[in-house]
């Protein structure tokens, strides 16, 4: 049976139609959900199409940057001055057309892909200590992205906010492939108060902070070695868990070196 398709025309409309999110499939840019519909992997009863919901746009207010949920990834390329690593992460993601279509909110909601990692922005936004504002059961809430990623079922993202860092750096594993998937990537941020935060994507599960590496960040060699302590790795069509475990320390050292050079 054809699903009930809802096309909200304002953020308030989107929140109200989403309700508690039960049995509702949300389509942002469609780059992940639409193939699942095409291939019959997903047969939803109720679909919320966010194309006209007015949830897109970036605002920069002093040092606070807010990104609407349906902002296309390509718009992040314009944030090089505010957060160089986020712009670099966005530029590394997929290809020109996909960046124009895929959304920031969708990238934070996607689960593990069957053949390749998904959710490139999760690492960058974790390192930026972004906060996610979402709606759903119990109403609106704003929480650190780390908590959002752990409990994102049944939530509709409204926007994502972070504070302009003192410096940021991004490094992805170069891995030629006909599909432009990211095998593994690390983002490092030096916050305005000097705190160093590190996070990765391409791990088993969603993006994750590398806290053991952060704890010894002043010693770049040791931080690289510590990076594998808190996270686990998975095999997929692009690379083995073993290969990722060998390369994560290298990316952490590259990012910390970039941060040091920007000091």
């Amino acid at each position: 049976m054809a699903p009930d398709v809802l096309v909200p025309s304002s953020p308030a409309d989107a929140v109200s139609l989403f309700g508690d999110g039960a049995a509702t499939t949300v389509i942002g840019g469609g780059t992940v959900v639409v193939p699942e519909l095409t291939y019959g992997c997903l047969s939803p009863d109720r679909v919320l199409l966010l194309s006209h919901a007015g949830l897109d746009g970036i605002t920069v207010d002093g040092d606070t940057i807010t990104i609407g949920a349906t902002t296309p990834i390509s718009d992040l390329l314009g944030l090089a001055e505010e957060a160089q690593a986020l712009a670099a992460c966005a530029r590394n993601l997929a290809d020109y057309e996909i960046r124009g279509q895929a959304t920031v909110g969708g990238n934070l909601c996607v689960g593990q892909g069957p053949e390749a990692p998904r959710g490139d922005l999760q690492g960058a936004l974790l390192a930026l200590d972004a906060h996610v504002r979402s709606a759903g059961s119990g109403g609106e809430r704003t929480e650190p992205i780390e908590e959002f990623l752990a409990h994102r079922q049944g939530r509709l993202i409204l926007d994502v906010t972070f504070q302009r860092p003192a410096a940021s750096a991004f490094s992805a594993l170069e891995y030629p492939h006909t599909h432009e998937y990211t095998v593994l990537a690390v983002t490092g941020v030096r916050a305005a108060d000097g705190t160093i935060r590190l996070a990765a994507t391409g791990l088993a599960g969603p993006g994750a902070r590398l806290r053991s590496a952060e704890a010894v960040a002043s010693d770049i060699e040791a931080a690289g070695s510590a990076a594998t302590d808190d996270v686990s790795f998975a095999d997929d069509a692009l690379a083995s868990a073993w290969y990722r475990e060998q390369t994560l320390p290298v990316l952490v050292r590259r990012v910390l070196t970039q941060l040091e050079e920007s000091a």
Binding site: G29, G30, V34, P35, E180
Partner: protein, 170 residues
């Protein structure tokens, strides 16, 4: 729902989640956008939506209600080809042709937004398009030529000119 397809206002009867690719091919009979991977990875279904290249296979038609859609038919005609169409012809940038309409629309948009004739920038812009004939060199050559403003005499193809030159040397 309504779309402006290659300049013509068109009422759409397909369901709201029907992909733009299926609307174009099945409802409207415009078969230049190709159904390749149908998961956004090959680029063969690319069309221009309000001037920007997008994957029609990833686009539920309701999400682009009211938009202007351009396929290669909208770029030019055999008698009046667009610069990109002329360049692809002149440089023999098509083999089997399956990727060609997507490549040309991405190239058209690239040139339209002021893209340079730097081959690396062109590779980046066309990075989402797979040519399984692996005819990339001639495709890049064609886009370089358009981006630097070449004009094309299609009565003498690139290959024809090259053979004439060889004859001259001999």
């Amino acid at each position: 729902m309504n779309l402006t397809v290659n300049g013509v206002d068109t009422a759409i009867d397909s369901g709201p989640l029907t992909s733009l690719l299926d609307v174009l091919r099945e409802e409207l009979g415009i078969t230049s956008p190709k159904a390749g991977c149908e998961q956004g990875g090959c680029g063969a279904c690319t069309v221009l939506i309000d001037g920007e290249p997008r994957r029609s296979c990833l686009t539920p038609v309701a999400s682009v209600d009211g938009a202007a859609i351009t396929t290669v038919e909208g770029l030019g005609s055999p008698e009046h080809m667009s610069p990109v169409q002329q360049a692809f012809t002149h440089h023999y940038a098509a083999q089997c042709g399956f990727c060609t309409s997507g490549m040309m629309l991405a190239a058209h948009a690239y040139v339209d937004r002021g893209g340079s004739d730097d081959p690396e920038a062109i590779q980046e812009a066309l990075g989402g398009h797979v040519c399984r004939c692996t005819g990339y060199v001639k495709i890049i050559d064609a886009v370089v030529a358009v981006a630097r403003g070449d004009s094309f005499d299609l009565s003498v193809t690139a290959a024809g000119a090259a053979m004439t030159n060889l004859g001259g040397v001999a």
